[in-house]
Symmetry: D2
Subunit: 138 residues, 4 copies
């Protein structure tokens, strides 16, 4: 059984464009993250959570984006997030960007579950209750 992917719509902002008249390629990663964090909230959670043992953070270890058509000011992008894998310490998601039903970009992000202490990140095993929640989305 597979959970339905998470979807949202997002309008392109003026400052996200560049002099070529289209969304700057770096901003796709910010939009991907926006979708990912909205998905965390849809699970009743937040990406930047604290539990008894301190703060959990999910730094990126590897990200990619492929672009097939540009996005422009005020475009309403349809965004779909799917969980690719849930490892012992890592999470991989894929985000699709569509415009009027047509794919314009596809991104992927792999993150590692970390404890942050005095600014130092240490990879840790994903807490059981978080992991269970993530796996239910696969």
């Amino acid at each position: 059984m597979s959970a339905a992917p998470f979807t949202m719509t997002r309008r392109i902002l003026f400052h996200e464009t560049d002099l070529a008249g289209v969304v700057h390629f770096s901003n796709y990663f910010r939009i991907m993250e926006e979708v990912e964090h909205a998905w965390w909230r849809s699970l009743g959670r937040t990406v930047h959570a604290a539990d008894a043992a301190g703060a959990l953070s999910w730094p990126r270890v590897s990200v990619t984006c492929d672009y097939t058509a540009p996005l422009r000011f005020e475009d309403e992008v349809e965004l779909t997030l799917a969980v690719e894998s849930v490892g012992e310490k890592s999470l991989a998601v894929k985000v699709e960007f569509k415009l009027a039903g047509r794919m314009v970009a596809t991104g992927a992000m792999r993150s590692v579950c970390c404890r942050v202490e005095s600014g130092k990140f240490t990879a840790v095993i994903i807490p059981a209750e978080v992991r269970e929640r993530l796996l239910a989305c696969k």
Copy 2:
């Protein structure tokens, strides 16, 4: 024979960090582009050039970044750009991020040479004199 790679140093800015105290992963792509454009200038050119036939632009078709250690405010990052390939219509570069000689991230960007007319991008063969200049960097 291979040309020396292009290098520069760049200090991390305050607004590039996020609440985790480190550079936001999306900003690595902006820094990569900054290096790439400085490299174009080192070739006596600009990435956003116009010739008799109109404006040339190099939209990204595929980008990646792998992160191994964080960057922090005021870090002086050592950046190295190497040309990976020069296709008929495309250019692929790789950018390494080092801190005190230690690799902290590696990125790659593939772009396509395009004419822009009325906001529409059309892939074109890289003009001969540009291509020659790029190949000399391989």
Copy 3:
């Protein structure tokens, strides 16, 4: 008679924060613009419109922001835009930022109506139908 001010709610994104754990001060201007552009759309218009005579643009001539309390990741900010003045060629708006009903920042932006031709901006009298629409919001 005065029109109701335009309001919207907006959640703070992760990349909008900085290492101090709060929204970077520059991002308030991006949020102000986001509200302003949503307000333009609520008038059935877009800020970046084209008519028979070419493209209209509204570059900023003066902006300010006063900050009284910080905003943090995932805060839901209540935003209110009010039209301050509609000049012959200019528009001034004010944007209030509230969190749980408490004012946390106040910004203002003055823009000038311009034609853009070959990248050159020339201030022009606001087209009559646009001006009428703006005045109805005062």
Copy 4:
């Protein structure tokens, strides 16, 4: 006696432009901060310092910018920072943007010296040795 103002030159980046072909107005504040932080370093300090009593931070309380001419990709902006006032707990600076000797924008930022504890900002009297250093720049 008055200290010489702090100056630096900075090239406009591609991602700082928007679809109007010029630098987005919000980015002037990021550039102002970049100048301010470079000035702190020129004083042998960092804006985000820690002393025996903990971390000092300088959140903005009021900022403004006036724009008279646009900035474009690869422009080399001449930036000048002058200290406007050093209060008991606050610092006000002014930054001028020039292009080929011509003023294109003027900004101002007022910040308050704060201790940060558990994410809470408390205004404090500027430490004596910092205040002395700042006053020498007036």
